[in-house]
Symmetry: C2
Subunit: 646 residues, 2 copies
């Protein structure tokens, strides 16, 4: 199968991909063979665990975040928690329905970026992309901070270590994700279902006790932290509380980004998983909000509402309490996995369109996107340190971007249905990445997506207005910055492509201009001899150059060259003050000034390759030093000829 066996000039091969085994193998698991890749898809049961852990886990803090805002009006205002939660669940139903339609329209993955790009244009797509990338990072920061808050509720003595714990968990997640998505699936299924079981038991027991009148009040609730003077309940306060509660919706879009990870028929499987997820999420969220009001729970950094609920239902000493808290902790920390799965995937798509560095598009030896994963972990760790792992302080940064991408995605879908409405039955229209097909129900679908877009747009405005001073402004600066970065990167690539384009390129006929070769000689040994032979293969016109630092050394080189130099000219540059690079560069400069057009200069450097890594410290890497100085000069090629010593 080697090229020379083929007469045709272009040979196509499926590449075999056996990534090398090294320390990464030990840390990240054995490399997966390409043949395994198609089997890396998952069913609905595992899919729910992988993609829904973010959304489901938000039940652990959404109710509490509503309480935090209402606390400004005193505990009397806590009665509004349940009604507000009902409105949020209504919103959730609209958004879920809207996304279910997207999943069927985009079986290859219909994240907000792709849907916006195909239907609203690249500019909107970049905004959606920036919003999503920002939010994936915040998902990691918020989920893990909230998970650590659960631990701290049960073990108050760990309070001062919460930042360290949170950052530790981020990197634990990173390691798991560098191992690949399938193992991730298996790892996440158990805790997700364990969490669902304990939460349903807690909420169920709570409701049963409430109905039988056995549910008491929280014993010793943590003190309410009021940051401002008491106010009355205003519409603004209620909207503010509502917008905090919409944190429950975050993560709902994850499935639409990851459809390709599902088994066939993937749209159907993904759609069903989405509906499951929305139903479970609504039930738990309403249950917790309802019980929270009944037991008189208070919002606090020191003890979470979930902890208060659980110990009121089961008692602090009960095994159920610890079980509930551990399940919640684990699911929250695992929830960050949704972001770990989607951030690299989205970066890769954006990088493919050349708005992010190309490297993010490539896959590493493992079937994952290592660069993206590590970037995500770094930025999330930074946020956790800056905000001291406080969920309450991170939340205001969180949901603006989520709702911005919801709005763009659904608006894009609505526009798509309108286009489809113009098609006659049976007609199809190929446009960008997707195919538009006539659909008799286009009008209904357009109204659903359009209404979803309107609702999420209004929520975004409410969120931005009510949370502006609390941190939302950071995001409103961050997203345009990210978009600007996208544009700068893209401009670099397009300018470069234009400058390098072969269109209108004269394509001068190959003139066999002179090919001069300089061979650097420090001492004359087998490595030099090898490099000399290589240099002579390149051209007839070889000059050896020795920088003479010591007279004795110069004498030795001269004598040996007469034996081993194969008649090649040797230039000795005496350097009594022991400078190495400067005489060399001056000489090369001199050669270059005499260069004729079309002439090429190749500098051949024998390079010692040590068998032990630290030996590199004992040898000057002249090739690298030359390259640094000469790379910007056209017409010079620097070639290292390695010599290995066993």
């Amino acid at each position: 199968m080697l090229p020379e066996d083929h007469p045709s000039p272009i040979i196509h091969r499926k590449a075999e991909q056996r990534p090398p085994r090294d320390w990464r193998t030990w840390l990240f698991g054995p490399p997966l063979r390409t043949a395994d890749a198609p089997h890396q898809t998952i069913g609905k049961f595992i899919g729910l665990a992988v993609f829904a852990s973010d959304a489901l886990s938000s039940t652990a803090y959404a109710s509490q975040e509503i309480l935090f805002i209402l606390a400004a009006a005193g505990s009397a205002a806590f009665g509004y928690v349940f009604p507000i939660s009902l409105v949020i669940v209504g919103l959730l139903a609209i958004v879920a329905l809207s996304y279910e339609q997207t999943i069927h329209a985009y079986p290859d993955g219909g994240g907000s970026y792709i849907v916006s790009r195909d239907n609203l244009g690249q500019s909107f797509a970049l905004v959606a992309g920036a919003a999503l990338l920002t939010d994936y990072i915040l998902t990691v920061a918020v989920s893990i901070s909230s998970g650590v808050a659960q631990i701290v509720s049960a073990f108050p003595q760990l309070f001062e270590y919460r930042v360290l714990l949170a950052v530790g968990f981020v990197w634990f997640m990173t390691l798991i994700n560098l191992r690949g998505v399938k193992e991730s699936g298996a790892i996440f299924a158990v805790p997700t279902y364990f969490f669902l079981a304990t939460m349903f038991i807690t909420v169920g027991s709570g409701l049963y006790k409430y109905l039988t009148g056995a549910l008491g009040q929280v014993i010793d609730p943590p003190e309410i932290e009021v940051t401002q003077t008491l106010v009355t309940v205003t519409p603004f306060l209620l909207l503010h509380a509502f917008s905090s509660g919409t944190a429950a919706l975050t993560g709902i879009e994850a499935i639409s980004d990851g459809i390709t990870a599902f088994k066939e028929p993937r749209s159907r499987n993904a759609g069903i998983t989405l509906i499951w997820m929305a139903s479970i999420l609504s039930t738990l969220f309403l249950g917790i909000s309802f019980l929270t009001g009944k037991i008189g729970a208070t919002p606090s950094e020191v003890e979470t509402v979930i902890s208060q609920l659980s110990r009121t239902v089961f008692g602090r000493e009960s095994a159920w309490y610890l079980l509930g808290i551990s399940a919640t902790t684990v699911i929250l920390i695992m929830a960050a996995n949704t972001a770990f799965a989607d951030f690299p995937r989205l970066s890769s798509i954006v990088a493919r369109d050349r708005f992010l560095p190309r490297q993010l598009f490539l896959r590493s030896g493992r079937l994952v996107f290592s660069y993206g994963i590590v970037t995500l972990a770094l930025v999330a760790s930074l946020l956790i340190v800056v905000f001291q792992a406080s969920v309450n302080r991170l939340i205001p940064l969180y949901a603006v971007g989520v709702f911005m991408s919801f709005t763009l995605s659904q608006a894009g879908m609505a526009r798509r249905w309108r286009k489809i409405g113009h098609l006659r039955p049976g007609e199809t229209l190929k446009e960008r990445g997707s195919t538009l097909k006539h659909d008799p129900k286009w009008a209904v679908k357009m109204v659903i997506n359009g209404f979803g877009a309107l609702c999420t747009f209004v929520v975004m405005l409410i969120f931005a207005a009510t949370k502006f001073v609390h941190g939302a402004w950071v995001v409103l600066i961050l997203i345009p910055t990210v978009v600007a970065f996208f544009l700068i990167v893209n401009r670099h690539y397009t300018t470069l492509a234009r400058r390098l384009s072969l269109e209108n390129f004269p394509g001068q006929p190959l003139r066999p201009g002179r090919h001069r070769v300089l061979l650097l000689v420090s001492t004359v040994h087998r490595g030099t001899w090898q490099a000399l032979n290589y240099a002579r293969r390149l051209s007839e016109d070889v000059t050896a150059v020795h920088v003479g630092l010591e007279p004795e050394e110069v004498e030795k080189v001269r004598q040996k060259w007469q034996i081993w130099g194969e008649g090649v000219r040797l230039v000795i540059l005496e350097s009594p003050y022991r400078l190495l690079m400067e005489p060399l560069l001056n000489y090369i400069e001199e050669v270059l000034t005499l260069q004729e057009p079309g002439e090429t200069l190749t500098i051949v450097v024998p390079q010692f390759v040590p068998s032990k890594k630290w030996h590199e410290l004992l040898h000057t890497n002249t090739a690298d030093a030359l390259r640094e100085r000469l790379l910007s000069r056209p017409g010079i090629v620097i070639t290292e000829v390695p010599y290995q010593v066993p």
Copy 2:
């Protein structure tokens, strides 16, 4: 003057040396032309400032270090300071006389390393070298810490910043020394003579006041810090105090290392400077020790003895006090310069013998040894941080190495005189680096050097014994470690030279084996075209390789290749899972397995050279990645063909 104008195969040229101008120019001064180098020598007056600042400045702490030890027996023991100082001055006279002989015998520089190597053999030389290098580092740490102690005496509020101050001064010295020795000379002459003037005035005024009965006691002397319970005055205590005081001798060898820096007749100039230095040093040291006892000064980390003496003579508010303290501070900080001048010079000599990395042998663009200077500054900073800039805690580490190198140097000289004794009048003997000439006074000289060696050997033993538990053990571990490092480095170089030696090398006749060239193509543009032309120059046997990450991209490459490919074979390696390196490496591996003996494989990589540095982040450096994986494989050469975009 270009090579091809000459028929002879070997061309000798004095290299022109115009180091490039860049940010280093701004920071370290304009580059010196080679022609300036011979004028970089100095006379006796400047020589005293440059090489004697270390020795002279030790008067600022030697008396105090004796007091520190005597304090263990209470202030009554302070009467021993002057007698101990007298013994030390006697020792100083012997050592100075001994070194004066060395300077004449070694006009090219007779440091302990060279004298030991020539007369005692390489093993002793390595011990001397290790001892000296260790001590240069300690000189920097001790001098600068002591300088900072003077500042802190005058401004007690700076006490808590002493470590920061000391490290700052180390790097200030480093900058000055990177500028070159001549400017250093000018910079150091002023403060050295300013220090000598103020010290003679202080000691003179003190003696005058003492003789006229006007000298009082120290007002509010700092409290004596006694670390152990009071003991009686024992011989061990006196020896211990004596060994602390021998810190006054450190730095006396500096001139013998730096003879080449002196104007001709350099041996004579250097010898006279040494005698000047020893006389000044003795006078000041005795004066300070004498007055210290008379005013009842006490040793302390908070206020130095010099500060106590100066304010007792002139009064705390006097301008003379501040003047004296500043002069002492400046000379101490400048004293580190001796080490800065000698450490890189010695490293370079050791590196020339291949016991240290070769890079230390090379000179940078400035006429100094940048690598050595930076190494010195790094290790000294580390010591200052670890020992919290405490002179008292650094001293025990200090003098073992000094006296070890004194002993070796003088023993070597004694042995040399004995050999000379065997020569007949007029006879000369060439041995290693130096020439032995008959000398009628060989016996006297042998006795002087021999007695010097004996004295310093005994002092070394006393020092090691009395200071062992206080830190001398560190040095007794450190020196063998450094020697071991020398040996490991040397073994690497000699093994390598043997393996690479061309002796008994069959020198197979050049067989014109196949030269296969692989050209990596990511997209087809002007850069690729340039690289293709280069590749075709190298060999007829060129294969282009494209790793296909995206089907559309593959199609584009295929089409463009048909236009621009010049008929060269193109192999497309499809990589649906977006791996880049792995398919490439597998393909190269496959090509290599079919390699015939004598065949060479060159991999040509078009490499984008960005005009802005940050653009590098947007491009994969495939050549570097390949090099990392393939350098250890024989028979592969990786060549980058740069393409510059304006």
